[in-house]
Amino acid sequence: MQDIAMISLELIQNSVSAKASKIDFTLALAQEDGTSTMIIADNGCGMDEATLAKVSSPFFTSRTTRKVGLGVAFFKQAIQQAAGSWNITSALNQGTTVNGTWESKHWDAPPLGNLGEVILILLQGHPEIHLVFNFSTNSSVYTFDSKTFEASIAPVPLSEPAILKWIESEINTNIQNCKGGIDYEKSR
C-alpha cells in the first residue's frame, strides 16, 4: 500500500461499502505552494461522531466497522511520512470526505502508481456509481466523469471489457500528458 493508486483504491472501496452513489476523487499534484493534495468525497452513509473519533486511531479495525479499517491507517501513514496532514469529515446519511495534503518533493512522497487501474477496478465492480476523477497539476487539468462518459458510449455498458481497458489507458495517458505529473514523479 505504498502508492497513491493503492491508497485511493482502499478509500474508494470504503465509499463503495458506505453505499455511495457518487464519489469525487480529486488529486492535485505539485501545486505552487509545494504541496500535493488528494480528496475522496462520497455521498454514502457517513459516520456518527463517535465512530469518526475512533477512525483516527490506528488500532480501530473492529469487524463491525470493517468498512474503514486499514485503508485509513495506510492513508494516514503515507501522508504523515511525507510531512503531510490529513483529516476526515463525515455526517451521518450525508457522506464522508477524506482529505490529505503532503509535500510534493518530500523524500517519502508516495509515487502515483497505476491510477487508471483504480478507475478500471471501480467501474468494473460498480458501473452504477457516478465517479468524477479530477486530476490536476499547477498548469493542467484532466477530468473523467463516468456518467458523461457512459452517455457518450451508450448503449454499450461501461462494464464492457474493451471499454474498461480503453479507460485505463486513456486516464494514464492523460496523467502523463498533464504537465507537472511527470515532474512530480521525477522530483521525488
Binding site: 471489457p161 474498461l164 480503453w166
Partner: protein, 119 residues
C-alpha cells in the same frame, strides 16, 4: 484525437457482441477484491480474466466480491456454472488464471490442483 477514434471503433464492435455474450453467460466469475485480495495480487488476476473475456469473447460475467474470511488463501477466484455449482480456486496468480481460462472456462475441465492449498 487518435484515442477517441479508437474508442468509437471499440464501441461499434462492442455493440454487436454485448447482448450476445450477456444473454448466454455460462459462468459467473467472482474475484475477491477486498484489502486482503488486492494485497495478495488480485488486480493482475482480475485483469487477466478481463483481457480474456475481451479477446476471446468468453460467455461469462465477471464480478468482484469482498473478503470471505480466508485471507491467507487469497487471491481467491470462484467460478459458478449455470447449475449453481461453485468451484473455488485458491492462491490464484495471473499465470494460474490463464490456465483456468483455458481449461475451465473454455473446455469445462475443472483444475483440481488449484482448488487446494499449494504452499
Amino acid at each position: 484525437m487518435k484515442s477517441l477514434d479508437e474508442l468509437n471503433k471499440i464501441r461499434e464492435a462492442a455493440l454487436k457482441k454485448v447482448n450476445l455474450r450477456q444473454n448466454n453467460a455460462q459462468y459467473r466469475i467472482l474475484v475477491g477484491m477486498a484489502t486482503c485480495g488486492i494485497a495478495a495480487g488480485a488486480r493482475p488476476v482480475m485483469k487477466t480474466f478481463l483481457d480474456a473475456i475481451d479477446k476471446d469473447q468468453l460467455p461469462v460475467t465477471l464480478q468482484q466480491t469482498g473478503c470471505i474470511g480466508m485471507c491467507i488463501h487469497e487471491p481467491i477466484v470462484e467460478i459458478i456454472d449455470q447449475a449453481g455449482t461453485k468451484t473455488t480456486y485458491l492462491e490464484v496468480t495471473a499465470a494460474k488464471a490463464s490456465e483456468i481460462i483455458e481449461s475451465h472456462l473454455k473446455q469445462g475441465k475443472i483444475l483440481e490442483a488449484y482448488t487446494h492449498v499449494t504452499k
